[in-house]
Amino acid sequence: MPHTTPIILALAGNPNSGKTTAFNFYTGSRQHVANYPGITVERKEGFLRAHDRDVRLIDLPGTYALTAYTEDELVARRGLTPGGPDAPDCVINVLNAGALERNLYLSVQILELGLPLVLALNMHDEAEKQGMIINCGRLAELLGIPVVPTVARSGIGLDKALAAAVQVSLDRRAAKSSGLGGAKPLDISYGPDLDPVIQEFTALIEGNEALCARYPARWIAIKYLENDSEIRDLVAAADSALDVRLAAGLEQVTRHLKSTTGSYPEAIIADYRYGFISSLLRQGVVTRQDELRNRVARSDQLDKVLTHRFFGPLILLGVLYSMYKITFGLGEIPMGWVEAFFGWLSESVSGLLAEGLLKSLLVSGMIDGVGSVMGFVPLILTMFLLISVLEDSGYMARVAYMMDRVLRAFGLHGYSVMPFIISGGIAGGCAVPGVLATRTLRSPREKLATLLTLPFMTCGAKLPVFLLLAAAFFPGNETSVMLIISLVAWGMALMIAKLLRSTIIRGESTPFVMELPPYRLPTLFGVLIHTWERTWQYIKKAGTVILAISIVIWASMTFPELPEEMAAKDDSSAARLEYSFAGRLGKSLELVTAPAGFDWRVNIALLGGIGAKEVIVSTLGTAYSLSEEDIAAVEDSDDTTSLQSRLRGDPNWNPVNAAALMAFVLLYAPCFVTLAVMRQETGSWKWSAFSLIFNTLLAFAVAVAVYQVGMLVI
């Protein structure tokens, strides 16, 4: 029974067209977000019922065209493949009516694919205020498809667009089952030079059934002429003889065009496509009145101040600073609740169970480990909330616009600034939300360089180490020490970014060409949904990985247990730690770490610090055999006086190895939560492993340099 299968609708459109708002309106909270395997583009789907039909609505990434350059575009194209697994019955294309010409560029390409289409002319009201009158009936008549005016923010017209899409889908299914065939792809003339070649190519491609089952032959011909890498690979894989013939044809026409017009096929194709659109609009679709005071103009007024030569950067600093203040100030309150909850849970479980391994595993291994991940959730929630507001309002694009010139010098992108700040560019941040914030970066190489260098920032968990050592060995100079650390962090991050971008992530900078969307007031629902989706993904992914890793860390610090005859002599936590696997590892590492001035106690603390940087100070406490109460004081109130005096009194410690240790802690491997989210954002463990190894080697080299030079000086 064909009618019982749900109708598949795809939602396509440019970024900033209101597509996401429309998707939220249609699906509400009944949406499902997942990542496409291996890549980081979000895949959003929702189920709904419309006109007594089950509808599966797929939200495609926002794109300006159907090329094959970015992951977003490839995913959008996969979702629009007529012969693909999720081929939609109909596409709803949301357009920003105010920029109709550019938005139709995508619509035309969808029509060329032969997919049934419904146009939702969004922000229709704003376009009218701009003095642009759009005759939807005329556009519908010229293109032969339904055109519905909508205002997605208030939901106007969206039901009508959905009804039209369902109707088109049903008609098409009926036509198919009665053997009438589907929609006919739109044919645009690409001029006297290319039309004959397209015709010739199409005839050749029609000979290959497998190709034609996926895409219309003419579309493949056009994409081949555009030199589209994915389509060229597809053709080559399907039929190498065909590929040779097409490649020869492409080369010939490219040479011909170059000598006669100085242009090349893909440029001519784009020109004709835009030509088709502007002739369409001139046939009574758009009438322009005198430019009225409009949103774009109002947006310009705002930009005069917000991107002003002097005030712009000042306001930006203010926004970044308050963003940071709010995230960590506001986020700290619920963070306290979460921590209190896990503290309570840990105590209750301790009270219920007898002393022993099971208790130790549950409390120290699992509850503390998962608690450390969940403790970040309020921070991440707050940060995503603020980022969503900045993104949806249009300000984020201005941040990139203003910062780009500086960051580009280091191979980064204007958008890199926000992740750096969040990670601890202002001391006390956190690399976990910082890594997640790199999602705003659409350029893969710049994103990777940002993501790999932001762990150098002074995150909140490194601070206690710096404070402890500064207070113990540089009393009275704590402020200068902290300032130097912050400057070193920024300097290293930018230098390493430059280094990476000129070695392993070498390559042209990704084109900056970017829309500066008009300023808008974000909708509460949109911001909340956005925030929740991203946070939930973090909880799921980081949570599972961290649970496993914290058990491993717990085991390595617990086993093997101290034999009874040794325990009888000394049962202190330090003795037990020294005997454990982690302790032995710390000892054997002394051979390597001696040039940096680290003994086995420091080594264990640093190993534990890879689990979570918060562990460093408390592990040092354990290793120096502080009493339980003193450790509790160190952990709870950052009161490190006892540990400070212990270290100061130790003959092995002096300001030089304190400085070496600070340098090492600042730069070495990111914590496991960060590594786990790095894997989430890059789609592979490869970069997490790189970060773990490279950062540690770098930190070690710097620490050795500091220690050796320092020892010569004093």
Binding site: Y69, A127, A267, A270, Y274, D404
Partner: protein, 87 residues
Amino acid sequence: MSPIISPTPASPISLRRLAEGQKAVIVSISAQSELGRRIRDMGLVPGAEVEVVGRAPLKDPVALRLKGFTLSLRNNEADFITVIPKN
């Protein structure tokens, strides 16, 4: 009667050299591959009218107004675009 002599049309210049607030019509785009594609996808094609609406605090990137929207691009990307300024 001799025909009204129109002022000589301005000669083509690089988009980078347009002053703030100045309008111009695109005559050619010499960028290829990804950059060329992105520029064209955004509607920067020969015949399109653009206006420089602003520059970032460090004079780079530049903000352009096209039909109904604003976009920004770096100066070294603007170099690929040749325009004829309008009076």
